[in-house]
């Protein structure tokens, strides 16, 4: 489906709404917001794990988008543009926050006690077929921030390692390594949860 054919409502395509928004049409801004709010907010929420922060970030992403909408020339999909902008808003926020609370290096390299357990040789509790989405969402929420961000960007949002490296200001190898640690940590959390559920039965 081409962008021009994306239909917001009967008689109004996304491309038309963008053109109207460029002319300052308030209803078109709202239509674009309604179309993209859930995805942008969900992205922010998954990345920061906090409702109030996620709302602020979604708001900031849309404000930046609407201020810049006149520069949108349609070389990429509008949703791709918005999405990338939203990721940058979140990352910028985390960097700023990091100045006072946690450095980017620490964000990228969670403390050892947060890391995945080495379980070479453990053969019980295989996950295949046992993950439910509610539980997966919860386990993602409880990941350390550095792991969570890479996991959300790569495995949920579908960014490639080279894109993540560029956005995060790290190497591709670092991105791969962090993603692996994130998945290992998630595996630990999911196995633990599975074992707890089994023990309750």
């Amino acid at each position: 489906m081409t962008q021009a054919k994306k239909t917001l409502v009967p008689g109004l395509t996304e491309a038309e709404a963008i053109e109207r928004a460029k002319a300052g049409d308030a209803a078109s801004f709202e239509a674009l917001y309604a179309l993209h709010k859930r995805r942008v907010y969900s992205l922010c929420l998954r990345m920061v794990g906090n409702t109030a922060e996620a709302e602020d970030l979604a708001q900031e992403a849309f404000l930046q988008l609407f201020r810049k909408i006149g520069t949108f020339r349609g070389e990429s999909a509008f949703s791709t543009w918005l999405h990338r902008l939203s990721v940058n808003v979140v990352l910028m926020h985390l960097r700023k926050k990091g100045l006072n609370e946690v450095s980017l290096d620490e964000m990228m390299e969670p403390q050892q006690e947060d890391g995945p357990k080495k379980d070479i040789g453990a053969r019980d509790n295989v996950l295949a077929g046992s993950i439910d989405r509610v539980n997966l969402e919860r386990c993602i929420e409880s990941l350390p921030p550095g792991y969570r961000i890479i996991f959300v960007l790569h495995d949920i949002e579908g960014y490639e390692h080279n894109e993540i490296a560029e956005m995060m200001g790290c190497s591709i190898g670092n991105s791969k390594s962090q993603l692996h640690k994130a998945r290992m940590k998630l595996r630990d959390l999911l196995r633990l949860s599975k074992a707890e559920k089994a023990s309750r039965k």
Binding site: R20, A26, A31, R38, R39, S42, A128, D132
Partner: protein, 214 residues
């Protein structure tokens, strides 16, 4: 645990784990790893990691921001002069025919479902991954879904696969949330997931029957 090997082709588990972050996602490289072929533990580990990644791809954007977010945006844009002041009527975001849904909820859901369908069509050359085998029964499209898909196919054959994948995914969410609630009826988070999942399914139906998709 495997024996310690003399070279990369027969590396031990610890060596394999060190290499794994750079092998995983590389397709053939990992599949043809000599260590993996001979080590059941590491095969299980890789299967688990792949399974987690596959499941993550199926997660939907499930959360809507509070309405105050839009109010704040609108106020800021008006103050900055990006848009004209005064609340203008929504640009036909509500369906033209009567609906039992609140317009804002309807618009949000419609937007999300449409976006989902469009995104899937844009980002996946092949259909999105199917629900895992264990969830297949629960996530299968039910008779009503089949009817809907038949109607979609009649009007827009290319969209049928997209809708089928979305319905499977949302049905899997519903099944997961129901199961969690059965285990713990006091789990408010799971209840919220269930509500959101049903809302998404309703919106998918609404979008599918909206002739603007043609």
């Amino acid at each position: 645990m495997n024996e310690v090997g003399e070279n990369k082709e027969s590396m031990n588990c610890a060596e394999f784990h060190k290499e794994l972050p750079y092998l995983i996602g590389e397709g053939d490289k990992l599949e043809h790893s000599a260590h993996l072929q001979g080590c059941a533990n590491c095969r299980e580990l890789v299967a688990d990691l792949q399974y987690i990644a596959d499941q993550a791809k199926l997660l939907l954007p499930m959360h809507d921001p509070n309405p105050r977010v839009w109010n704040n945006i609108q106020t800021s844009l008006e103050r900055e002069g990006v848009i004209a002041g005064g609340r203008s009527p929504r640009l036909g975001l509500t369906p033209s025919r009567p609906s039992r849904w609140n317009p804002m909820v309807w618009a949000g859901g419609l937007a999300a479902a449409l976006l989902l369908a469009i995104t899937l069509m844009q980002t996946n050359q092949s259909p999105p991954p199917a629900a895992p085998e264990s969830n297949t029964a629960e996530a299968a499209v039910d008779p009503n879904d089949q009817q809907l898909l038949a109607a979609v196919e009649q009007r827009s054959p290319a969209l049928k696969q997209v809708y089928a994948a979305n319905l499977r995914s949302v049905n899997a969410y519903i099944a997961d949330a129901k199961r969690t609630l059965e285990q713990d009826p006091g789990d408010d988070g799971a209840r919220e997931h269930l509500r959101e999942a049903y809302a998404q399914k309703a919106m998918l139906y609404e979008v599918a029957t909206n002739r603007s998709l043609e």
